[in-house]
């Protein structure tokens, strides 16, 4: 206990409980494959009690490993009829995790070295300026962006005064056909405009599902002039180069 205090290290400096365990093991110059579980558990718990309060959200994981340590300790204290085989060593789960973690830690050190080297190299990060025809810089948008645009539109629609309830039902197939026809006819479709023209929330919702289906099936592609602009939907074949 005194020893741990000498070190004056806070839990904050450790990247989680495994990091702390490794630190304790190294400090004691213990072989990771043969951890004296009683000693290390004592040290570990001493470390935890150093803190007056444990922030469960941030440090709950430390308690989890503490519980594991105590569990292993209790397993080792239990008298057994026959000698344990190597495979059955209760410390094995812990050792395996520590070995894996140790590798990750070393790998992240190596990556960090690479990062240091690479941040000194400057690479191009902006495209050469292209001729600015109207839709020269189309970016393909992700489904998330599409969904976001849809939600913002529906929010707008929601604020409009709704008067009556439609009983009409919409079928996916019909809508799908309508969408494809429209794409064929106009060549493209303005996302916001199209949904604005939908009569009801249900209809818009169904259309949106259809659109997602089309994109998923690679029949259509969604593009955006630039961030926050309207999204256009093109049929995939014979679309833009």
């Amino acid at each position: 206990m005194e020893e741990a205090k000498d070190y004056q290290v806070n839990l904050e400096v450790f990247q989680g409980p495994l990091d702390l365990l490794l630190f304790l093991i190294r400090k004691k110059k213990i072989d990771i494959h043969d951890i004296p579980i009683a000693t290390i558990t004592r040290e570990y718990l001493a470390f935890l009690t150093q803190k007056e309060k444990i922030n469960l959200e941030r440090e709950g994981e430390f308690l989890l490993i503490a519980a594991l340590l105590i569990y292993i300790k209790s397993q080792m204290l239990l008298p057994r009829e026959s000698e344990l085989e190597d495979e059955e060593d209760p410390r094995k789960i812990l050792v395996d995790r520590l070995l894996d973690f140790q590798k990750i830690k070393a790998a992240s050190t190596l990556l960090s070295e690479k990062e240091d080297q690479q941040t000194k190299l400057w690479k191009r990060s902006a495209p050469p300026s292209l001729p600015t025809t109207e839709d020269a810089e189309l970016v393909e948008v992700s489904l998330f962006e599409l969904a976001e645009a849809f939600l913002s539109l529906m929010k707008r629609k929601e604020q409009e005064n709704i008067r009556l309830i439609h009983g009409k039902e919409f079928s996916l197939e019909e809508k799908m056909k309508e969408l494809i026809d429209r794409l064929k006819e106009h060549g493209f479709l303005d996302f916001l405009e199209y949904f604005n023209s939908q009569e009801s929330f249900e209809e818009a919702l169904i259309s949106f599902f259809c659109l997602l289906e089309l994109i998923k099936a690679h029949i259509a592609i969604a593009v955006q002039d630039s961030l926050f602009h309207s999204i256009k939907v093109w049929p995939k074949q014979g679309a833009r180069p």
Binding site: L110, Q118, L121, K123
Partner: protein, 181 residues
């Protein structure tokens, strides 16, 4: 003829935003045979390797790209009025290393390996486009599966995921640490 092709390829690399790979060059320079293209690239690389220039051609994420040399870093930062280039946090690096070496991997697996909840750092890596979601695992709860991206390779100057520090290199580091202790 070949000198001209070399110039063309140099220009392509110059204009290209992402590392330009051999496949792409071949698709663009259809007038030339594969051997001619490969030879021209070789010449181009050699002329840059002659160490006569401030710009170099490096290979990352399977393609070629221009980059400055590390010696010029401080002056470039002066030009851009940058104190330091932002780097990844310790937790982010650890999570990234976990994804890189254990991919395809789920959030629960990453958290278990690191012993801490990795959702926060994973989110920031997703935002930085260093990892991506590649699907769902066919197991209870169908958790999302994560992998590293091409940008990850470029960021760390790796040409290929196989260029990651090998098991031996990692073990060497561990040995060195033991000696230091």
């Amino acid at each position: 003829m070949r000198t001209r092709l070399k110039d063309v390829i140099e220009s392509l690399v110059f204009v290209s935003l992402e590392p330009l790979n051999l496949e792409k060059i071949k698709n663009i320079c259809t007038e030339f045979s594969n051997i001619e293209i490969e030879q021209a690239i070789q010449e181009l690389l050699e002329s840059y390797a002659s160490n006569d220039r401030g710009i170099q051609i490096i290979q990352a994420a399977g393609g070629f790209l221009f980059s400055t040399k590390s010696e010029s870093d401080q002056w470039i930062r002066r030009l851009l009025s940058l104190e330091q280039k932002g780097k990844l946090s310790h937790a982010a690096l650890e999570t990234l290393a976990t994804v890189a070496y254990h991919q395809p991997v789920t959030l629960a697996e990453i958290s278990a390996l690191r012993g801490v909840d990795a959702s926060h750092s994973l989110k920031s890596l997703l935002r930085k486009n260093l990892v991506k979601i590649t699907g769902r695992k066919k197991s209870p709860g169908r958790p999302l599966i994560y992998r590293t991206t091409d940008k990850f390779l470029t960021y760390f100057g790796l040409n290929n995921i196989k260029d990651l520090p090998s098991e031996e290199e990692i073990l060497k580091i561990l040995d060195e640490e033991k000696i230091l202790d």
